[in-house]
Each structure stands twice: as structure tokens, then as C-alpha cells.
């Protein structure tokens, strides 16, 4: 556990440093970014440089950045007139809501499809497989556009945006969750089918188990194992997809903040987002690792 924590911290540090370096190497000065579209005279520049302490050597800036980081200070956004910590704090909620809802949707759909069609006839499996194929092949933003046009603008079933209650979450969660469901569904179904061909499945049948009980009690757990190993992909897709979904649906959230920060080269915000997603990644992969251990006794101990 200690070792895991250590590795996690090292990964975080490396991620922070790497992105710091990357942004340092990027074209354009920080001052340029701070000046932005506004008026630009040497006088204004000088004022900005002193205000942000940009006249210090880069190493010092880096060290002070790390130092502040250790103390929980993420700095101040170049573009938004606010502290980065505060921005993230207000934006984490909606993104967490969205990604969790999408993850829930994806997992539930995938599990349902897998359970209903696992070990069934060709037709059911073919249909499921085609649906999954479409879900993974359509670009996520297209799914979003289609969902919006149909269910919000035309049918008016769901509001288009905002955190106006759980209803507003339905379409974004679907848009983000469908591709997840597609991939997970494929993996789960494949796992189920493979598990049902294993000798232990025959043994279980020989005990008089129904197919349904066989799937629920035996095969499903086996199917979960490859699904769990998708952890990294899973978080990546959700967090990355959140960018597009939030922009499209006009939802608040980190994805949008990240997108704006990246296009505006808002370094402190970008760094914070990098750190945050590294934290999320490390956490989730740890959790899923533990889940993996819980599911598969063979790798314990």
C-alpha cells in the first residue's frame, strides 16, 4: 500500500513536471497570453510581468510552483480572474456527476445487453453486436448532436443543458455513456461467452444449474475480469469525452474548463487539470486494481 502510494505520488510529480516543461517549451510568452486580445504596450507588459512574477528565472518559478502545490495552492488563472483551486472546486461537481452518470449508464447498458444476449441464439447476439459496433463507431459528438436534435429540440423530452435536475443529465450521460457501453458490452459479452465454454461451466451445468443461474453466479464474474482491465481506457474515455460533451451540451464542468484553458494557454488551469486527472487516474486504477483482486482470488497474495 505504501509502495503504491509512493508510485502514485511519483506519477503525479512526473505528470506535473512534464506538463510544466511542455508548456514552457510552447511558443509564445506567458505575458502574451496575459495580454490576450487586449491592448498591448510595453508599459502594460511591464506591469503584468511584475504582477505575476514572470521576471524570475524559470527554475525559481518551477520550484515555487511545486512549493505552492505542496501547500495546496494551485495558483491563479491567467484568463479567468479567479483562483484555480476555486475554479476546480466549482467544476468538479458537475463533471463528477456527468462522468459517474455516464459510467453508470455505460456499465448498466453493457451488463444488461451482455446478460440478456450472453449464450443466446445467433440473432440476439448478432443484434447486440451490431448495436455495440455502432455505439463504438459513431464519433461521440455526433451521438450528442443526434440525441439533442431528437430528444430535446424535436420531442422536447429533456432539457438541453444546465444542472437543472436529473433530467438535464439524461442526454449528456447517454451521449458519453453509449460508446462506453459499446466497448464494455463487447468485452463483457466476449468474456461471458468464453466463460460459458470453460469446463467449469459444464461442471456447473452438471449440477443442475439453469443457464441464467450459471451466467449470474459463475460466468459474469469471469466476464468482469477483462472489463476491469479496461480501467485506464475507461477513465480516459470518460474524462476526455467530458470535454466534448460539456461543450456540446453547455454543461459546466472540468472538460470545458480544460478545453478553454488549453486553447487559451491558461497555464495554471491546464496544470491543475493535468494534476487532477492524474489523481483521478491513479485513484481509479488503484480502486480497480483492488476490485480486480476482489474478483479474482488467483492474483491475491
Amino acid at each position: 500500500m505504501i509502495k503504491r502510494l509512493g508510485t502514485g505520488l511519483a506519477v503525479l510529480w512526473a505528470a506535473a513536471t512534464a506538463s510544466y516543461l511542455a508548456l514552457l517549451l510552447a511558443p509564445g510568452d506567458t505575458v502574451d497570453i496575459l495580454v490576450g486580445e487586449g491592448p498591448d504596450t510595453p508599459e502594460i507588459r511591464a506591469k503584468i510581468i511584475t504582477e505575476w512574477g514572470l521576471d524570475r528565472p524559470e527554475v525559481i518559478q518551477y520550484v515555487s510552483y511545486l512549493w505552492r502545490l505542496v501547500h495546496g495552492d494551485l495558483g491563479r488563472s491567467y484568463q479567468l480572474q479567479r483562483g484555480v483551486g476555486e475554479i476546480l472546486l466549482t467544476q468538479v461537481g458537475p463533471t463528477a456527476q456527468l462522468t459517474l452518470a455516464a459510467a453508470g449508464t455505460g456499465v448498466t447498458l453493457a451488463a444488461l445487453i451482455a446478460l440478456v444476449t450472453g449464450g443466446r441464439g445467433r440473432l440476439a447476439r448478432g443484434t447486440a453486436s451490431a448495436a455495440e459496433l455502432v455505439a463504438v463507431s459513431v464519433p461521440p459528438f455526433l451521438i450528442g448532436i443526434v440525441l439533442l436534435s431528437v430528444f430535446s429540440f424535436t420531442l422536447g423530452w429533456f432539457p438541453v443543458s444546465g444542472a437543472a435536475g436529473p433530467q438535464a443529465l439524461v442526454l449528456p450521460a447517454l451521449a458519453l455513456g453509449l460508446p462506453v457501453a459499446g466497448v464494455l458490452g463487447q468485452v463483457l459479452r466476449g468474456g461471458l461467452e468464453r466463460a460459458l465454454e470453460q469446463p467449469f461451466a459444464v461442471t456447473a451445468r452438471a449440477r443442475g444449474l439453469t443457464e441464467r443461474a450459471l451466467v449470474a453466479r459463475h460466468a459474469l464474474r469471469h466476464a468482469l475480469i477483462p472489463a476491469v482491465t479496461l480501467a485506464g481506457w475507461f477513465t480516459g474515455t470518460l474524462l476526455g469525452g467530458a470535454v466534448i460533451t460539456e461543450v456540446l451540451f453547455g454543461r459546466p464542468g472540468l472538460g470545458r474548463v480544460a478545453m478553454d484553458a488549453v486553447t487559451g494557454r491558461d497555464m495554471p488551469v491546464v496544470m491543475a487539470v493535468v494534476l487532477l486527472s492524474a489523481v483521478v487516474y491513479v485513484t481509479i486504477s488503484t480502486v480497480l486494481d483492488l476490485a480486480y483482486r476482489a474478483i479474482d482470488p488467483r492474483i491475491r497474495g
Binding site: 459444464v202 452438471a206 443442475g208 443461474a213 453466479r217 459463475h218 482470488p297
Partner: protein, 552 residues
């Protein structure tokens, strides 16, 4: 029984009565498992079953629906599947697996299930059932898993147990225990359908034996009759294929391939040159004496080619090989027996210089070997070759047989190499067109022949054989053992022959090393060890070897 049009099993008629043990014997692929599964309606997807009559407990099973089958399975008949190692759900505790049968058929109320599971484990001969019930299959040895499987098969008190190869892949001692366990059930009045490829195994327990070949029953009768006075040729060859001390120096199979190598060997063995039927007792004895004499003569002045002294090797805190010494002389076969995990493979890797000993020294031709730097060892490597347990695993999956056999011959010019490969293939009794095929298209026996041909390529002085036949069924095993014996006689190669099967070692080896927990517990001449085992473990081992009833 057919799968998508191709008939796999034809015209099988069989019946099992309470308290009776019927055994089905036959080589791999003969349709034994399919028959067993069909009896419980578990032939699998895409299968079609036709039957004249099919009665289970007095009911006509031909019209059974899924529900009726389910009520039957577990409750009326328990099935012990062929592959014990993978027939338990690896993700659940073994206790849960057994409790499942109890739950499905509602044998005992929920509250008493846990207690019943322990009783069942106890009955199946599992020590410490409380501990074991909470463990997962991977924490159990093969024998224990087999017992758990049996416990789950008998949980609902079925009237019939179908056991498909319940002892294959188990150590002999464990095998004996399992057979005893099954015999107990039989004695308790349960009907038993036992499936095996090994006649000796079923001989000790079966009342009636059915011999299967290519999906048909070729012979059927009371066990004793079938084993002592087999009527069918196939049964005879099966019987003859069982290696044992008694079969030493004889061929286990008929010499059916007139290849140059074999003719050569055949001529070296006057008595073995004209085998015209099942090798029966008296003939065996004669051949044994003759060949034995010849081998002894050859090694009149024993020259050590490979030796280990005080070898020790640990993985982590565990000493896997502990102070083992051995000497292998020219032309000699040194057998190494021991149960699974006793360190046999590790010893082989030490001998091959693939693993550095923690302590001790291996010498090759009386020169230091294990202490050499790999660069210096490389030129000497052709002198000592390996045949491994799983040939497929030792083949690069992309290569054809020809390329595989050619690999150790890289120093030869192209043309010569091709010729050598064809020659080697011929020596191991494979047609030249094998060179173009991929090993995964071959049968187990053919694969092992390729492995042997490859190992012989560099004309090694020592061949390390790590369980070369344990993945093969008796008849194929017999062919491979014969081949090894022939080639050894021809080339005078020394064999370090590792096996967990005492019968195989007794058949082939001159001297034997008995290993247990990484130590050598007994060492000596095969005959002595076999007839007068000194160590208790060796005694168990010898006692556990199943024996065919000797015809009077």
C-alpha cells in the same frame, strides 16, 4: 452422437447397474468424454443425439426438456469432469461450489448447508475441511481439487457417478487415493461409470470394461476377462502399451514403421525383431534380459558425461532443489521421479545451465559447466539437449516443423541442413512432408517426435527429457518411449529422464533418483529401488503404481 453432421460416437450401448462400476477405456479422441456428457444431456451446442433407447432411472430420456435434464443432473447423476484443474470455478471458494449443488436441488435447508459441505469434503478425503472449504481452487493441489470435484458430484447423493479420467495428471500416490475413494462410493451402492485411457487404472476397480475406438465399442466384457484375455487386437495393444518394470527392454508397440532407424534398432535386438502380436509376459522377460545385458556391456567402463554435486537452488525463501548430487554416464538412462513440485524441472534447468545453482557444481564431460560464462558455454551447448514436457510450448509458433528441426543445425550449410532435417524426421518416423507443416496441426505424439528430432539434431551426448510423455495418452506414450529407447540404443546418448510416473521410469531407466521436496530420498539401480524400496516415500510410490492383473 454427431457434431454438425460428423458422427463422433456410433452405436454405443451401455448400461450401469447400482453398485456396479463400468469403465470405458480408449485412446484420446475415441469419444469417451462425448459419451459421458451425452448421458447427462450435456453434449454441448451444435450436437445431435440419436438413440434407440435411452432410459435414465426408468424414464425415457429421449424426450427430456431442459427442465427435466436439470432436475436429473447433480441429483440423480453426478459428473466428475475430465479436467479437474479447470473444472472448478476459479473465482469461487470450493465450499461454495459444493453448496451450489445442495442449493439447486434443495438437498438440505440453507442453515445446514455449510455443515453438510464440511461433511462432504471429509467424506471425499479432504483433510482440514474447515480450512479447505474457504479456499479457492488455485490454492489446492490437483489431488485436492479432484476430491472437491468428487465431493460436489456426490453432494446430492446421486445414484450414479460419471467420472471422466479422474486421475489423469495426478501423481501416482494421489491417483491411488482417488481410486480408493471411488471404490468406497461403489461399495456404498452407487453406480459408477469410469472413463480412462489407462487400462491399468481401471483394472483395479471396474467390474465391466468397454473398450472404445473411433467412436465405437470394440470390446466389452467383465474386467478380468478383458484385461487377461483380450479378444480384440486394439485391446491387446492398449495392454501392451502400459509401461512398467516388467516391460523393461521391450517394445511397447508393434514395430510397424519400416524406417531405416527402426530397422537398425530392430536388428540390434534379436528377440524383438519379430514381434507378431501383443507382447506377452514370457516374451517380455526374454527381451529384457537380452537388452539389459547389451546396455550393461556398452557401459562396461562407465564414463560420466554429466554430473551434479551438492546442487542447491532457492526461489525466495524456498529451497526448491536441496543438496542434490547425481552422475549420468555415457549411454545410460538416469530416471528422476517425484511428485509434482518436488523440484524435478528445476533440476533439469540446473543441469542444462539455464539456471545457476545457488550452491554446488554441474560438470559436463568432467569440465565445469554451471560456472562457465554463457559466452563460453554456447559452443558446448549442442552437447546437451532438452526435450520438454509440452512440445508445443517449446516451438516458436510461427515456424514450420522443418524450420524447427533445423534451428540447432544453423552451422551447417543450407543444402546439408535440409538433408539432415529430412533424415532426422525419418529417424523419428515422420514422413518428409511434415517439414512443411505447422506443429499445431499435428497430434501430440507427432509433436513430441518433432521435439525429439530437433533435440537429436546436434548429436548431443546428453538428452534431458523433462516429462516427455506425461501429456500423452498410453498408446502414444508407448510409441514415444519406444522411439527414445531405439534412438538411445543407436546413438548411445545418455538420458536424464524426468517423470512423475514411476512406471515410465521403471520401463526406461537404468538407475533412478527419487525426489521429494527438493531432496533425493533414494537413489539406485531401478530394479533394486523397485523391488526393495528403502525410503517410506518410495515404498508408497511403488505401492501406488497400478498393476495389470497378471494372467496365469
Amino acid at each position: 452422437m454427431s457434431f454438425g453432421g460428423s458422427e463422433v460416437v456410433r452405436g454405443i450401448s451401455l448400461s450401469v447397474a447400482p453398485g456396479e462400476c463400468v469403465a470405458i477405456v480408449g485412446e484420446s479422441g475415441s469419444g469417451k468424454s462425448v459419451t459421458a456428457r451425452t448421458l447427462l444431456g450435456l453434449a454441448g451446442p451444435g450436437s445431435a443425439v440419436r438413440a434407440g433407447t435411452f432410459t435414465i432411472a426408468g424414464q425415457d430420456a429421449r424426450g427430456f426438456g431442459p427442465g427435466e435434464w436439470r432436475r436429473l443432473r447433480g441429483r440423480f447423476a453426478g459428473l466428475v469432469l475430465q479436467d479437474a484443474l479447470v473444472s472448478l470455478d476459479p473465482l469461487r471458494t470450493v465450499g461454495a461450489e459444493i453448496a451450489e449443488v445442495l442449493a439447486v436441488h434443495d438437498v438440505v435447508p440453507r442453515s445446514r448447508r455449510a455443515g453438510r459441505v464440511l461433511e462432504l469434503l471429509e467424506a471425499a478425503g479432504v483433510p482440514e475441511p474447515e480450512v479447505r472449504a474457504g479456499q479457492h481452487p488455485h490454492e489446492l493441489s490437483g489431488g485436492l481439487r479432484q476430491r472437491v470435484l468428487i465431493a460436489s458430484a456426490i453432494a446430492a447423493g446421486p445414484e450414479l457417478i460419471i467420472a471422466d479420467e479422474p486421475t489423469t495428471a495426478l501423481d501416482v500416490t494421489v491417483q491411488a487415493q482417488i481410486l480408493r475413494l471411488l471404490a468406497d462410493r461403489k461399495a456404498a451402492g452407487t453406480a459408477l461409470l469410469l472413463i480412462s485411457h489407462d487400462l491399468a487404472v481401471v483394472g483395479s476397480i471396474a467390474d465391466r470394461i468397454l473398450v472404445m475406438r473411433d467412436g465405437r465399442i470394440v470390446e466389452e466384457g467383465p474386467a478380468r476377462d478383458v484385461l487377461t484375455t483380450p479378444a480384440h487386437d486394439y485391446t491387446c495393444s492398449l495392454l501392451a502399451a502400459v509401461p512398467s518394470a516388467a516391460s523393461r527392454g521391450t517394445r511397447l508397440t508393434e514395430a510397424e514403421r519400416p524406417t531405416p532407424g527402426i530397422r537398425h534398432v530392430a536388428s540390434a535386438r534379436p528377440t524383438g525383431a519379430t514381434p507378431s502380436g501383443p507382447a506377452t509376459g514370457p516374451v517380455k522377460g526374454a527381451v529384457k534380459g537380452a537388452v539389459k545385458g547389451a546396455v550393461k556391456g556398452l557401459a562396461a567402463e562407465p564414463v560420466p558425461v554429466l554430473a551434479g554435486a551438492g546442487l542447491t537452488r532457492s526461489f525466495g525463501p524456498r529451497r526448491v532443489v536441496d543438496d542434490v548430487s547425481f552422475t549420468l554416464h555415457r549411454g545410460e538412462t538416469l530416471g528422476v521421479v517425484g511428485e509434482s513440485g518436488s523440484g524435478k524441472t528445476t533440476l533439469a534447468r540446473l543441469a542444462l545451465g539455464l539456471l545457476a545453482p545457488g550452491d554446488g557444481l554441474v560438470t559436463l564431460h568432467q569440465q565445469p559447466w554451471s560456472t562457465l560464462r554463457e559466452r563460453l558455454r554456447r559452443p558446448l551447448r549442442p552437447r546437451i539437449q532438452l526435450i520438454s514436457q509440452n512440445p508445443l510450448d517449446s516451438f516458436d509458433p510461427r515456424h514450420t516443423c522443418g524450420r524447427l528441426v533445423a534451428e540447432p543445425l544453423r552451422s551447417l550449410p543450407r543444402q546439408e541442413r535440409r538433408a539432415r532435417v529430412l533424415d532426422l524426421l525419418a529417424r523419428v518416423g515422420l514422413p518428409p512432408d511434415m517439414a512443411g507443416r505447422h506443429p499445431r496441426e499435428l497430434s501430440g505424439g507427432q509433436r513430441q517426435r518433432i521435439a525429439i528430432a530437433r533435440a537429436l539434431g546436434p548429436r548431443p551426448d546428453v538428452l534431458v527429457c523433462d516429462e516427455p510423455v506425461s501429456a500423452l495418452d498410453v498408446s502414444i506414450q508407448a510409441q514415444v518411449l519406444d522411439l527414445l529407447a531405439e534412438l538411445q540404443a543407436e546413438y548411445g546418448t545418455a538420458l536424464l529422464f524426468i517423470s512423475h510416473d514411476l512406471g515410465v521410469v521403471l520401463h526406461l531407466a537404468d538407475r533412478v533418483l527419487v525426489m521429494k521436496d527438493g531432496r533425493v530420498v533414494e537413489e539406485g539401480d531401478v530394479d533394486e529401488v523397485f523391488t526393495q524400496p528403502r525410503h517410506p516415500y518410495t515404498r508408497d510410490l511403488v505401492a501406488a503404481v497400478p498393476r495389470l492383473p497378471v494372467p496365469r
